[in-house]
């Protein structure tokens, strides 16, 4: 088996080198259509750092394998751990950064760009970017007019994944708005299932809860202002949003495991506990982004589209919120291989490889939706690309990492405290404002 792969790899290598030799357009007669040309990088070694673990990492390794196959370079995947900014900061400080890194927060991109740690994209990558990405996504990868990043992965963070059996047993359907949502939850609670699974051990799930409520209730303009800290967290609009969220967090009949239990539930577990047992489920609905699909696929036996379905985050105000997130690939070194990797990640080919595995949404508008493995994924991708440039990027990801992206600090911590004690809206606002002021330095 090993020799077979080695032979195949050698063959692929010779094919790529042959084709770069004659400069033909047809890449050595490969079966799939290729939309991007990459240089021959035989013997080069690069490191790609990303936060992904488990199934997401495995899927991404397939993309890296494809890159290796096409260029001959050796790619090492470096897991960053939860704290990407910390990890990269110390690597850069130590003078040995990875070639390419996936930044999960746009705030980190800005922070790093300001410190001149990021290398601007080259022409080949920019070309792919212009071809495949809408302006909204391009802008998110730039800072002060310079394009630094390619959004390889997008997340639609406004989805409620529900256990169809639990919903059917309670006789409720998809809700129209926040109020009917809460009513349905109470009905499910009456049926004997504590309905909502909150992964409160991971602070970022809580920021996503808040952001969806806030975007829908206060509107996009306020959202942008709060994201930039132009209005304070002590603003009445924040109070209103937290109070609304408190209707859910403050009712221990609605939270699976109660508030304490929710605080100790890490995100992956919040998914598995909802979709493991269908006769006596531990929870009926879990809120998070599209990547819940990956956990469902890999950690449970549930069938997406059958046992597991999705409805959009119920609207609190006038419109349903569309909050997005994403991982942006940036170059930390000026090497040829790093640039080629970025070009590849901006291409439709790379997006296609990752999309096939499921649990992944690409902001690449040129990607054929047939690449997604099921209808649920296609729907989520459609919602995202249909939103055009009307989506709002995850607020905590736009903030400096100290506020919006650090385990046990800033917004993550303040909202965990709020989940522990949902009656104390004013206290939560004060804590949020105090750490926001410190992080934004205003």
């Amino acid at each position: 088996m090993r020799t077979a792969t080695a032979v195949a790899a050698a063959l692929a290598l010779s094919l790529t080198s042959a084709c770069s030799g004659d400069g033909g357009d047809d890449d050595g007669g490969a079966s799939e259509k290729r939309t991007v040309r990459l240089p021959n990088l035989k013997g080069e070694k690069i490191q790609v750092a990303a936060v992904w673990t488990g199934p997401e990492e495995e899927n991404f390794r397939k993309v890296l394998d494809e890159f290796e196959k096409r260029t001959g370079a050796t790619v090492e995947f470096v897991p960053t751990g939860d704290n990407v900014a910390t990890f990269l900061g110390s690597k850069i400080g130590g003078g040995a950064p990875p070639d390419v890194a996936m930044l999960p927060q746009v705030g980190v991109l800005r922070q790093f760009a300001e410190k001149k740690w990021l290398k601007p994209l080259d022409d080949a990558t920019t070309q792919q970017l212009n071809k495949n990405f809408s302006k909204g996504w391009q802008d998110l990868g730039s800072h002060e007019g310079e394009q630094y990043g390619v959004y390889f992965k997008a997340a639609n963070k406004s989805l409620m994944w529900y256990n169809t059996a639990a919903y059917a047993a309670a006789g409720v359907g998809e809700p129209k708005n926040w109020d009917t949502y809460l009513e349905d939850l109470m009905t499910i609670s009456d049926s004997g299932v504590k309905p909502v699974s909150v992964g409160g051990a991971d602070g970022w799930t809580l920021t996503d809860w808040f952001e969806n409520v806030y975007l829908s209730q206060a509107g996009p303009e306020k959202y942008d202002q709060l994201a930039a800290h132009e209005i304070k967290w002590t603003d009445p609009s924040v109070k209103k949003a937290l109070t609304t969220l408190g209707q859910l967090f403050g009712d221990d009949l609605l939270l699976s495991g109660g508030n304490e239990g929710a605080l100790q539930t890490p995100f992956p577990e919040s998914v598995t506990k909802t979709f493991t047992d269908f006769d006596a489920p531990e929870a009926a609905v879990v809120f998070e982004a599209d990547f819940v699909g990956v956990n469902v696929q890999n950690d449970t036996k549930a069938e997406i589209g059958e046992d597991v379905k999705v409805f959009p985050f119920p609207r609190v105000g006038a419109k349903e919120p569309v909050v997005t997130g994403g991982d942006v690939a940036v170059g930390l070194k000026d090497s040829k291989a790093a640039k080629a990797m970025l070009t590849f990640l901006a291409s439709t080919d790379a997006a296609g490889v990752m999309a096939e595995q499921g649990g992944f949404i690409s902001p690449n508008k040129a990607l054929d939706r047939a690449a997604y493995p099921n209808d649920v994924q296609r729907e989520i991708a459609k919602a995202l690309t249909d939103a055009g440039d009307d989506f709002r990027f995850d607020m905590s990801d736009q903030a400096p990492a100290a506020f919006g992206g650090t385990k046990g600090a800033g917004e993550w911590k303040a909202l965990q405290d709020f989940l522990k004690n949902p009656d104390d809206v004013a206290g939560a606002q004060k804590a949020l404002e105090a750490s926001a002021a410190k992080a934004f330095e205003n």
């Binding site: 704290n83 900014a85 910390t86 900061g89 110390s90 400080g93 922070q111 059917a168 047993a169 309670a170 006789g171 409720v172 009905t187 609670s189 009456d190 049926s191 004997g192 299932v193 504590k194 409160g200 051990a201 991971d202 602070g203 009949l253 304490e260 239990g261 605080l263 100790q264 006769d279 006596a280 400096p400 990492a401 100290a402 506020f403 992206g405 650090t406 385990k407 046990g408 600090a409 800033g410 993550w412 911590k413 965990q416 522990k420 992080a439």
Partner: protein, 463 residues
Amino acid sequence: MSSHITADGPGTPVADGPGGRGTPKNPAPDGRGGAKPSSGRTGPWIAAGFLLPSLLLLGALVVYPIVYSAYRSFFDASGSGFVGFDNYADVFSGDGLTAVKNTLVWVIVAPSVATAFGLLFAVLTERVRWGTAFKMVVFMPMAISMLAAGIIFGLVYQQDPDRGVANAVWTGVHDTFTDDSVFPGARPRPDAGLEKQGGAFTTEAPVEAGSPAGLPLVGIPPADVGDAGTAKEADKGSGGEVTGVVWNDFTKGGGGREGVIDPGEKALPGVKVEAVKDGKVVASAKTSGDGTYSLPKEAAGAQLRLPASNFAEPYNGVDWLGPSLVTPAIIASYIWMWAGFAMVLIAAGLAGIPRELLEAARMDGANEWQVFRKVTVPLLAPILGVVVVTLMINVLKIFDLVYIIAPSATQSDANVLALELYLSSFGGGGNQGYGSAISVVLLLLVVPMMIVNIRRLRKENSR
């Protein structure tokens, strides 16, 4: 005191090397006087040449970082603005203060408890036949990295008794003394005439014989009523009994009417029903397989109560990693690792104690406790001191266990200086000025212990 030591300490050999003249004031170096004539023949340049490599290494690897950290600690996050002692003020306020307090708790508790356990194990295993095997087992955790130990204890302290060993034991002990409730988490259908009082539910109106009282409950996990029969309306009763039915007022698939027994709704057997008059229980009964109950006629005119014991949630154990217990829990994991270390050193010291002294004490009529208390411990005092001080130095830099075991919700409650240093310097904040200030504080804390250790070492050498 300390200035005397430091001035004296490194100064002596350096002055000795190139000079080599005259008699030293200290009698201690006199013992090594035999080397003197040879050092007298070497010129100062040769001595300097031999010293240079190590001086360079020490300078580059130890002195320069310390000096630069101290310098850096007076500047802000970007490193360009001078902020005086502001960073130090930050260390003793807010998150930094929690870290300082926790570090103090660590330094006081962890070494002393670990040493106490070490002493206990060493003394107890000394005379056991399988002592060596036992010592090996106790010492084994030392072979595990802090990271692995952290992950192990993260699992041990999991809240869910099905996963965390600590809570599995704790709930196991607890549940031996309490009975399980029949329908944990059940609650009355709102507006069905049942009032919540504590964990119990009481009817608002008194019940009468001949008019069955239905007590609808909801919120019962489907698994709990899986094999229960369907509920049925209670008989009116002929002899003046008070009757009624307790049932799960939820139709699977929805569409049921509230407070009415719809077809397919399940009975709740085994629920205790009490009749209460003026705060006193006058009668009680348990529901049968079809959910009905029947109380004797004394119950007429009383209020019905479903006592809390029916619905108590299962005991969920201790919140080990909650804000109040997280630091003690992590310290316990540290002791698990390091008690073995203390034990081995103390056991070595114990082996060096002259047997005659113990025997003499016993001959004089001392019991074992007195021998231990008055002879063994005083003789071990130097070793105990070394162990405690070594552990204190070790504990000051504790980082891994806290970083790994504390969940993010309570990380700031478990914070210690080394962790705060890492998070603030290389974490989201990126404030290396503040981080440097913490490192200087840590240095200042560790210096006294170093001095104690160095002095002890000297004393040993001169003996």
